[in-house]
């Protein structure tokens, strides 16, 4: 398995690890049975995600994708975060091995899950904005 230097950097020195105690939104995706869980915390001020932290149980790519995803949305607008795609995560990491692409999907879902929680807390129905909560593709059969 060959990881890019960028993946290795984000795995070995993950950015924004931790929790936000008074978070405005918390998202959690994946499950332990499949070997990866991502938990993402966001702090929102107006339209801006002022802080973002994560905790991940998973492989090198799972840690790296969550780390870079926090960097990609922190200090940016909510609209920007809504537009975050797994493809952008992969590109930012200078590529992922094919069998690790699902980690980037998980990172995108973690961000959307945190945003969904944020909207819910604001009394706004997240579904018209985010669509139905994304299913964790093939891992889903294990969920439970």
């Amino acid at each position: 398995m060959l990881y890019s230097d960028k993946v290795m950097d984000h795995f070995a020195n993950p950015r924004n690890v931790g929790e936000i105690e008074d978070a405005d939104g918390i998202g959690e995706v994946g499950n332990a049975k499949c070997g990866d869980i991502m938990k993402m915390y966001i702090k929102v001020d107006g339209d801006i995600i002022t802080d973002c932290k994560f905790k991940t149980f998973g492989c090198g790519a799972a840690v790296a994708t969550s780390s870079i995803a926090t960097e990609m949305i922190k200090g940016k607008s909510i609209d920007n975060a809504l537009g975050l795609t797994n493809k952008a995560v992969v590109e930012a990491l200078e590529g992922l091995p094919p069998q690790k692409i699902h980690c980037s999907v998980l990172a995108e879902q973690a961000v959307r899950s945190a945003l969904s929680d944020y909207y819910t807390r604001q009394g706004i129905d997240p579904e018209p904005i985010l669509g139905k909560p994304a299913q964790h593709d093939e891992h889903d059969e294990h969920a439970g």
Binding site: A12, A32, K33, G35, T56
Partner: protein
């Protein structure tokens, strides 16, 4: 602690030893003859191949004519199982007995045979990773062609009761093959005394080069060819002999089997020290029997941690190891070996295998223990699963019986 480099993945492969390399070198250049040639250069090459055969036979307790050189352990397994099955199918024997935790070389050959009309019994392994001889006895029917059970497991190092299984098979008139790739050079083997009919060996696990192996086939067993060609290996496994590799394998198997008790005693002591040191970490478990275990094998699961991440961080500390997590197996499921022990996926994902080399030192052991503690702590600190476990979340409670006591916060 000063950084060290420790290769602890000897069950994956080993370095070619200096002694093996030196024995091989002349056969690349000055002694390059084809063993089938009539002139002296060829005859000398043939003599060297036969000497290697004698060495392998001496190491395994059989006669040289029962040794066939192959290209690897996988080839040996395929040949023994498939050729035997297909020969005996003609006599109405279409049943094979194996275990749930064999190497894929065996499992996938069995799966192939299942697609071609054979019935395969996969004996369950049980929590300690050791098959009971009675399981084999109970599974044998009048249709059973072959029992194939590994000598020692490649992931958890558990040693199977081979002599007892051999005796049962011999008594019932069923052929018995064992994949001994992980066992040779680590435990004393005598194919005659242990009633083994066929046995697979891989060279690169015992300091010979990759791409070399052998199959022992007891005299009188008519094993059909897997491939066809010239008269090499008595026409059974044709193709011009890989003379340097065969010579190297002869040296390697002699060296590996020369000091098994002494080597085993020393390794076992260091292995136990590492096991005890790592098991001091809460929420861990040793996978497989501690006693019936290869001297150099350690396989431990850490709850709340994923195996590939563990390996990458250990690598950054100079330690080479492996894991049975899904991410390292290349599939969505973790290792079939760990699952066969009855472990939940969550526990299997967090496994670490260390397979020690003969050169391991006490200082290496201290370094490994410290490094593992450090890495596990680091990963648990960022693990939402670990957070759920220590805070006693309901969905994690089913995992607790599988590991050592965890202090809830």
């Amino acid at each position: 602690m000063e950084k060290r480099y420790i290769y602890a993945d000897n069950a994956a492969t080993t370095a070619v030893s200096e002694n093996v390399l030196q024995s091989m070198l002349p056969y690349f250049t000055s002694q390059y003859g084809n063993p089938s040639s009539i002139y002296k250069l060829g005859r000398d090459a043939q003599k060297s191949v036969e000497e290697a055969r004698e060495k392998a036979a001496a190491a395994l307790g059989c006669s040289p004519s029962e040794i066939f050189f192959t290209s690897c352990g996988t080839e040996s397994d395929n040949w023994a199982i498939r050729a035997t099955a297909e020969r005996l199918a003609a006599k109405g024997k279409t049943h094979i007995i194996t275990t749930a935790f064999e190497h894929h070389a065996v499992l996938h050959t069995c799966a192939y045979l299942e697609k071609h009309g054979f019935t395969v019994t996969y004996l369950p392994v049980g929590e300690d990773g050791v098959i009971k001889p009675s399981q084999v006895a109970d599974a044998i029917t009048d249709k059973t062609a072959l029992v194939t059970i590994m000598y020692a497991n490649n992931e958890i190092g558990t040693i199977q009761p081979i002599a007892e299984i051999g005796a049962i098979c011999r008594e019932k008139g069923v052929l018995f093959h064992t994949d001994a790739v992980q066992a040779v050079g680590h435990v004393p083997i005598n194919v005659a005394e242990q009633n083994i009919d066929m046995l697979s060996v891989s060279g690169h696990k015992i300091h010979a080069q990759k791409g070399t192996g052998l199959l022992y086939v007891r005299k009188g067993i008519p094993l059909p060819n897997l491939i066809f060609g010239g008269g090499q290996e008595r026409g059974k496994r044709p193709g011009t002999e890989n003379v340097p590799a065969i010579v190297g394998l002869g040296t390697a198997i002699t060296d590996a089997c020369a000091d098994i008790p002494e080597k085993g005693e020393r390794l076992t002591k260091i292995r136990n020290k590492i096991i005890d040191g790592i098991l001091n970490i809460e929420g861990t478990r040793l996978n497989g029997s501690r006693e019936k275990r290869l001297p150099g094998n350690i396989n431990i699961s850490f709850l709340g941690v994923e195996g590939e991440a563990l390996l990458l961080l250990l690598d950054s500390k100079g330690i080479c190891a492996s894991s049975g997590s899904a991410c390292t197996s290349g599939s969505l499921d973790p290792s079939h070996v760990l699952l066969s022990l009855g472990l939940p996926h969550e526990v299997a994902h967090g496994s670490l295998r260390l397979s020690l080399g003969e050169d391991i030192t006490d200082e290496d052991a201290d370094y490994i223990i410290a490094a593992v503690k450090d890495v596990v702590t680091r990963l648990r600190n960022m693990s939402p699963l670990w957070e759920d476990i220590v805070s006693g979340k309901e969905h994690t409670k089913k995992l607790l019986p599988f590991v050592s006591k965890i202090t809830l916060v």
